[in-house]
């Protein structure tokens, strides 16, 4: 073949050889390749500023308030900020990016043309979005845990409650936004409208609507990590166990629908 492609930057390339992704290693698995694709982008680093901001708020709370004053603030931090705002926004960007990035870069046809069932691709990419979303949210989780233990809540319950709520809410949102990005070309905008209009506004208007809001189930789960009797404005009426099942169910159904969609859709 011609020598036209080589010489531009001289012989500096051989040095990086072998430094990443061994032969047939993690980076060539469906999940590993998807995860790298989502994390490598500068977008994810920018996204991490959001949970870091929550952490900063927590530091201010710890410095400026007395212990009794933190009861209500813990509810705001964990329920409204972490589960109600940070998790959906992070999941929105990463969930719609899982296939939206591929559509943008023209690589979606390649992912439809792998020699494996298309639901494998959907599961791997949804899982990659989910894992990266949880990782990005971790600073906020840690901050909420510190505030929660500072008001003498049991540390085990606080950590478990925060992790469970974050992981499950992120799973439901990620799966939903993956589906949305496969159904609509402008999945990010549609998802943003959904989060802003439905999750943060309309669903809070009437108790009957809360049953249709992912955030309200997430906020119910996070009550494990907030002071017991403080009522949260928009929690679902169901118990924690039911809320956990609902969130997991939403994720599973959304993944199933995404798989069906990827199998049937045209990629142009």
């Amino acid at each position: 073949m011609s020598a036209t492609t080589g010489g531009t930057t001289g012989g500096t390339t051989a040095g990086t050889r072998g430094s990443r992704g061994g032969p047939g290693g993690f980076s060539t698995t469906l999940f590993g390749f998807s995860l790298r694709g989502l994390l490598v982008r500068g977008r994810t680093a920018a996204l991490a500023l959001l949970p870091l901001a929550v952490a900063a708020v927590a530091v201010v709370v710890l410095a400026a308030t007395s212990v009794p004053g933190r009861y209500g603030l813990q509810t705001t931090l964990a329920g409204d900020l972490l589960v109600g705002l940070v998790v959906p926004i992070v999941a929105l960007v990463l969930g719609t990016g899982a296939f939206g990035d591929e559509r943008e870069s023209g690589t979606l046809p390649l992912l439809r043309a792998l020699v494996r069932p298309r639901w494998h691709v959907v599961v791997a990419r949804t899982a990659a979005a989910w894992v990266s979303a949880v990782v990005v949210c971790l600073p906020a989780v840690v901050a909420c845990a510190v505030v929660g233990t500072s008001i003498n809540l049991p540390a085990g319950e606080v950590v478990a409650g925060l992790l469970l709520a974050t992981a499950l809410t992120a799973a439901a949102y990620c799966a939903l936004f993956v589906l949305l990005s496969l159904l609509a070309r402008h999945g990010l905008l549609a998802g943003l409208a959904y989060v802003v209009l439905w999750e943060t506004f309309l669903a809070g208007l009437a108790p009957a609507l809360r049953g249709l809001s992912i955030g309200s189930y997430g906020r119910r789960v996070v009550t494990l990590a907030t002071p017991g009797d403080v009522p949260l404005g928009t929690v679902a009426a169901t118990g924690v166990t039911t809320s956990v099942l609902v969130l997991a169910g939403v994720a599973v159904v959304a993944v199933a629908l995404s798989s069906w969609r990827l199998q049937r859709m045209d990629v142009v």
């Binding site: 073949m1 011609s2 020598a3 036209t4 492609t5 080589g6 531009t8 012989g11 390339t13 051989a14 990086t16 050889r17 072998g18 990443r20 992704g21 061994g22 032969p23 047939g24 980076s27 060539t28 698995t29 469906l30 390749f33 790298r36 694709g37 490598v40 982008r41 870069s105 023209g106 690589t107 046809p109 390649l110 439809r112 043309a113 792998l114 020699v115 494996r116 069932p117 298309r118 199998q263 045209d266 990629v267 142009v268």
Partner: protein, 333 residues
């Protein structure tokens, strides 16, 4: 040497029935529309081993043909089979199918080697890493294999796409304008590469809007115009079809009027008119362009005309293809 000019309604289906060897790729009565736009209309053909060129102007439907074969889109009507399977629904087909799709199609965050190895492994290649290294060497990217594709030139990304399509050693290759963005030296090298892929016994369909390029690698050419398959045959026959057609030519120079008169008298041209754009000279209308080309030198000598300008008018692919469509319609009646 033969070329078939098919009528508008599926006259090309005869080519399917006539294929002697079992077809690797079969397209049977396929139409595809997007909303109100008809991208393909009742197209039928079959492909066997070797390189076949898919020729047509931009928007003629080449990419739709390739997307249908690649399984990226489904036909609205008709049937597409690659190696006996439906490429849209059956993932198994992709074990032996390699595609360079239209548009971009590389992961800029990954190195060339990482993404080619990823695809190899996901298509069931046993030693994905070694296969990726080998194919990147073959397309001339051996030295850049471990650099991120985000920093690559357009030509290099095009090579990555080719490597992606080739890494699992596919029996069928679909290449959508694979030479776009390459400089002439790269084009030559890649034309040779595609030709050699055909010689290896693979079934290759490569689209292009440049006949000269297709001629250098393809044994057979399909011509698509406005969503219809209007002609198919050996490259030389297609060239005759494209070149030997009515054309208007602008002639200018001393004693050009005498020459035009002689051309008219000899029946080489059908009409002569003065050039209306004020450049001087005349426009002659020739029913057969090759006859005009043969006649002009001798007749110009006979009348002592010196030609300053011999220039085809309206000479572009659009008008060439428009001619083919008219001709196909005529043949269908």
């Amino acid at each position: 040497m033969s070329a078939t000019v098919s009528g508008p309604v599926g006259a090309a289906a005869g080519a399917v029935a006539g294929a002697a060897e079992r077809a690797v790729v079969e397209v049977d009565g396929v139409s595809r529309w997007f909303g109100d736009t008809v991208a393909l209309s009742d197209v039928s053909f079959a492909l066997g081993p070797g390189v076949t060129g898919l020729l047509g102007h931009n928007g003629a439907g080449k990419s739709t043909v390739l997307s249908l074969l690649a399984g990226s889109v489904r036909p609205s009507q008709g049937r597409v089979r690659v190696l006996g399977g439906d490429p849209h629904a059956e993932v198994g087909v992709h074990r032996a199918l390699g595609v360079v799709p239209d548009g971009e199609g590389t992961w800029s965050h990954a190195t060339a080697h990482a993404q080619v190895a990823f695809l190899a492994r996901q298509r069931g290649v046993r030693d994905a890493s070694a296969a990726a290294s080998a194919v990147l060497d073959r397309v001339g990217l051996g030295a850049a294999a471990h650099r991120r594709v985000g920093g690559f030139s357009k030509g290099m990304r095009q090579r990555v796409r080719l490597a992606q399509a080739l890494v699992h050693d596919p029996q069928v290759l679909l290449l959508d304008e694979p030479f776009n963005g390459l400089d002439p030296a790269q084009r030559r090298a890649d034309v040779d590469l595609v030709a050699s892929l055909g010689e290896e016994g693979r079934t290759v369909l490569v689209s292009s809007h440049v006949l000269a390029e297709v001629e250098r690698m393809a044994r057979r050419v399909l011509v698509v115009v406005n969503g219809r398959l209007v002609a198919e045959g050996e490259p030389a026959a297609i060239r005759d079809l494209l070149v030997d057609r009515p054309r208007t030519v602008h002639l200018d120079g001393p004693r050009v009027l005498e020459l035009a008169g002689l051309l008219l008298a000899e029946g080489v041209v059908e009409s002569v008119q003065r050039d209306a754009t004020g450049r001087g000279g005349v426009l002659v209308q020739a029913p057969r362009a090759t006859a005009l080309a043969e006649a002009v030198p001798a007749l110009a000598r006979r009348v002592g005309a010196t030609l300053r300008r011999v220039e085809p008018v309206g000479e572009d692919l659009e008008s060439t293809f428009a001619h083919l469509v008219r001709r196909a319609r005529g043949a269908g009646r």
